[in-house]
Amino acid sequence: MSMLEQLTHRDRVFDFLAPVASPVDVRHGPILYMEGVNVSFDGFKAINNLNLTVDDGELRCIIGPNGAGKTTMMDIITGKTRPDTGSVWFGSRHNLLTKNEPDIASLGIGRKFQKPTVFEALTVFENLELAMATDKRILPTLTAIMKPEYRDRIDEVLQTIGLQKLRDKLAGILSHGQKQWLEIGMLLMQKPRLLLVDEPVAGMTEQEMERTAELLTSLAGKQSVVVVEHDMGFVRSIARQVTVLHQGSVLAEGTMDQVSNDPEVIKVYLGEEE
């Protein structure tokens, strides 16, 4: 048997598959740095000369009317969409424009989608297991074993997102809110340096929202968090720094009070909301 074990653990050969991971360097400067970014989908300018910096450990809220380019921005950061022009840096070492999604993810940028996407055919536990920050190359994954510490880590996260009872249920049967949390939980498993959270509280009840708020604020400091949200109340409850996007570029930036009193902002955004 041990023979077999040996045989099946021969994955080191495949080192060339290893991702180019080196620590994120934030000694001088922000953790995320976007400058002069432009994107257009056949004619329509989704992002228009966008400049944005996020400091290490910051919790940043990004608001803006529909079509302001919030999601597109996240697509750019996570490598889903390539900008026509501009530069995007993660720390001062990694040029994100040269990397694809998995690389960026393994550099430590986690993303939660607008529409909660979890693996419905897998159990809650398995969802988190897949998200765990481990060697994600083929053979290691094939021969991966469930170490006790892994299990503890997962249970710990289950605690945080309050899904321990649903541990072995298929994610498909979760409620909308529970899916949101599961996805956040998956982010936590990734131990990312930077979390991109797209509309985390959509379709959540009041108390669910509060718990989410706590969760996100508690993360800030350890990790940098960028939250895109429509719900003003929620933003107010967590926001320190707020950035207002409009027509693909930054309209205003500052504390919630500052921006909410900015006449421009009121015109283009709050005006519409209320």
């Binding site: 998995p102 993810a105 419905e120 055919a121 190359r137 994954t141 021969t143």
Partner: protein, 379 residues
């Protein structure tokens, strides 16, 4: 859960796998016994004809398992798996061809008959080495493997998905079919390779060899099944399902989706190749029609009929359909296509999860277990 940590041993602790292997080996033993020790005239006697027939079914079963691996767990509907099957078959066929030696009609020690009478003066380079069993058997794995590697690398890298992928797999096998039909290719054109004499020194025209092949196929199926099971129960298996259901999400978790797809695809192709290799000596001919797109579609139908993403469902489907074929072509030659066609329609409409779906329902009813079977998801 007291599941062994070793990915290769894990399947053996599953009840489904235990049952499957149990049934399979029981079948092998019974058939062997009935064939060897039952008198010819007894009703229980299993004739050499039946043994070969069963052998053929098992080959198809292995092929179906290979397809289910990519379709059921990776969400890649390959309409070209016949190509890998046929390539494996040709690799074996070429070996068997070389084994004929100077016993061919023209008695040429090197050249197969079809080359002699189309005036090839020497063996084309790609036939070299096939006189050695070990080389041929390696090629059985490599030929389909490499094709799958190249094709998959191109396709997955540029993120060809869904229907588009299905159609170009079809284009692949169609192109290969046309190519192998050409006599210039040196694979015997439409007549393909046939009139085999012996394999590894055993005469192919004796019942003993047939039984041997049948058992070999059974074992191959068992091994193939366990390998697939091991993959799908490993973390990689869960990642595949993740790729199937939410490709983008999987990427953002840091998995290289295209590599996962490539790995599984190649494994599946190799299994298909092995199935083809075992198929050829039992049916006694390999010819380009195995490349025909319709055949590849049929394989998918077996899997669907048995039930996607269960593996054992694929086996059931393959055996059932082909058994039906054998029966119908015998009893109702003029109308068997009605029966077959009707079967496909009815199953897809009334048994969306195939036969395995039925079994599961019954099991679920008894004990509510949550083995992930993501049939809800459509590739």
């Amino acid at each position: 859960m007291a599941i062994s940590q070793n990915w290769l041993l894990r399947p053996f602790q599953e009840r489904s796998t235990q049952i499957f292997l149990g049934v399979l080996f029981a079948a092998l033993v019974v058939v062997t016994f009935l064939h060897l020790f039952m008198p010819q005239d007894s009703a229980l006697h299993v004739s050499a004809y039946t043994v070969t027939l069963l052998g053929k079914y098992l080959c198809y079963a292995l092929l179906a398992v290979a397809v289910d691996l990519v379709w059921g767990y990776l969400g890649i509907l390959s309409l070209g798996h016949g190509a890998f099957f046929a390539l494996g078959g040709y690799a074996m066929g070429m070996y068997l061809m070389r084994q004929i030696g100077d016993r061919g009609t023209y008695g040429d020690p090197i050249l197969p008959d079809f080359m002699v009478f189309l005036n090839w003066d020497e063996l084309p380079w790609y036939w070299l080495g096939f006189d050695m069993a070990w080389f041929a058997f390696i090629m059985v794995l490599l030929a389909p493997g490499i094709l799958a590697l190249v094709f998959g690398f191109l396709a997955f890298r540029s993120r060809v998905t869904g229907v588009y992928l299905s159609i170009i797999t079809q284009a692949l096998t169609f192109a290969l079919m046309l190519a192998f039909f050409r006599n210039e290719m040196g694979f015997g054109g439409n007549n393909g390779l046939t009139d085999f004499r012996d394999i590894l020194g055993f005469n192919l025209r004796t019942d003993a060899t047939r039984l041997g092949l049948f058992i070999a196929t059974g074992i191959a199926l068992a091994i193939g099944y366990v390998i697939c099971r091991a993959i799908v129960t490993s973390k990689l298996g869960r990642v595949s399902i993740a790729c199937r259901d939410a490709e983008a999400r999987t990427r953002f978790l840091g998995y290289r989706v295209e590599r996962v797809q490539l790995f599984v695809f190649v494994v599946s192709a190799m299994l298909a190749g092995v199935a083809g290799a075992l198929y050829v000596p039992q049916v006694g001919i390999i010819n380009p029609s195995e490349f025909s797109p319709l055949f590849s579609i049929e394989i998918v139908v077996w899997v669907a009929l048995g039930g996607r993403a269960t593996l054992y469902g694929a086996v059931i489907g393959a055996i059932l359909v082909n058994y039906a074929k054998t029966v119908f072509t015998g009893v109702m030659p003029d109308a068997w296509l009605f029966a077959l066609g009707g079967l496909f329609v009815l199953v897809t409409v009334f048994l969306p999860k195939g036969i395995a779906g039925l079994l599961q329902k019954r099991r679920k009813a008894k004990t509510d277990d949550d083995t992930p079977t993501g049939q809800e998801a459509t590739a």
